[in-house]
Symmetry: D2
Subunit: 149 residues, 4 copies
Amino acid sequence: MNQTIDNDEVLAIAQRVLANQPFSALLKTEVTRASADGRCEFRIRISENLMQHMGTVHGGVLGYAADTALTFSAGISYGVPVITSEYKINFLRPVIGEMLIARGQLVYKGRTQAVTRCDVFVIKEGEEKLCATAQGTIVVLPESSKSAP
Amino acid sequence: MNQTIDNDEVLAIAQRVLANQPFSALLKTEVTRASADGRCEFRIRISENLMQHMGTVHGGVLGYAADTALTFSAGISYGVPVITSEYKINFLRPVIGEMLIARGQLVYKGRTQAVTRCDVFVIKEGEEKLCATAQGTIVVLPESSKSAP
Amino acid sequence: MNQTIDNDEVLAIAQRVLANQPFSALLKTEVTRASADGRCEFRIRISENLMQHMGTVHGGVLGYAADTALTFSAGISYGVPVITSEYKINFLRPVIGEMLIARGQLVYKGRTQAVTRCDVFVIKEGEEKLCATAQGTIVVLPESSKSAP
Amino acid sequence: MNQTIDNDEVLAIAQRVLANQPFSALLKTEVTRASADGRCEFRIRISENLMQHMGTVHGGVLGYAADTALTFSAGISYGVPVITSEYKINFLRPVIGEMLIARGQLVYKGRTQAVTRCDVFVIKEGEEKLCATAQGTIVVLPESSKSAP
């Protein structure tokens, strides 16, 4: 992957990586945007099996969505395998609706480490509402050389 | 719930809450310890569908496990409904093995807000290894009055 | 304070609060922007006594600057006393230069709790560089009724 | 530095590093414990100029104390220069008293990166109370080879 890669290709790579994640398949996550500048978007249709006991989406799903966007933001920007070192997430409101959208972006890109940010939205009756926000540290794998991210 | 509740009852309540979380059922999470001092333990058998694309357990599963232990630590201590305001998690190593164990504990318990901590371990060939550690803020629900947590 | 307060007044209030903080006086912090939408800016001239042992600005100064901007973002928006519950900060590069600038903004404003964000920049030879970024949770003081923030 | 270094020497090194930090001199911080297993303790006498506007110790001082302990925990354990990548801190109560104590410990030590934890206490009328708790990521400087930490 290099500077002149086009974003259709970045999206195709992101889709391929996601398709190889059994846990993402279990949650039926889709990647709907990915560009070499580190912007990405993931969508998860809200279904009964993503709920907790109070009838709202389980925080674990929001954490997973944020983690995924934080990691891919760096991965698609570096174009090499990366791992998430850590992140922090704030939950802003109970999540009820039809669809989750996690949008990631790059805040800082160093030689071997990036800081990324993610906002998680819920779509309810056609309206998007911010429901969680996260910040994380993503590290380029030392042996990174091959496929992305 | 009051100070003299016995821990068998705390565990039974925690099991009932967990059983009412479809997302926890999807991941087949079990709560194996819960006491009124805020200590709790959750176990998740590692199976193919919890993996990411590099053959290790997906970070989203670790985040879910930590989130669950952080929240229940406060919930079983207060004995009333709580919600997770935020948490931070560090991932320490790639996770390969047979079983995840998330152990939560109370660090500070205020009138309406607690700080809890969770260590996530993986059991591989009988040996436990620390693979993630988290710290979070849990808030007592204002209208909290009834069942726990 | 109400919705129609003008921003000169918000800045004046912020300056008064800051002037009453001996620790901010010790660091000679100035507030250079504050508006009722939660945007604020603080400046600290870099001097020898803010350094650590490797000749760069001490992380404690960056943490203080971020903490201040995170807190004031919520305080000037609510217009009542607030306290910082927690924050997370990423340090992006060694900090060398003439001036620190911490810029805070409101991400989410709930009834009693806000999530805010802060970017810390260093000015070196006239150029601004991002050197730290933070996200925090700010809580409205229960007994809050009087002066701000 | 190696495994057999004695802890008096570790403490002497930590004192020397701290003495070379003008910002720590400004706050009159003392290191009162440092051992090769990563345990360390710092003390700061609370004085008027560490306060904020509500008469309690400024959060920036607590953040500085936590940052220092988090960083030194890793530094004295690796015995080589390190930098703090990020941390998260929870503030637990308003801080009034005579002395701050920050105690750091190592949670995980990898080849190039450690996770450390710190509890900050205040001593008031002879009694210690936990007032903040933090978790952070500390990175070994690539060019690290010489003096500590």
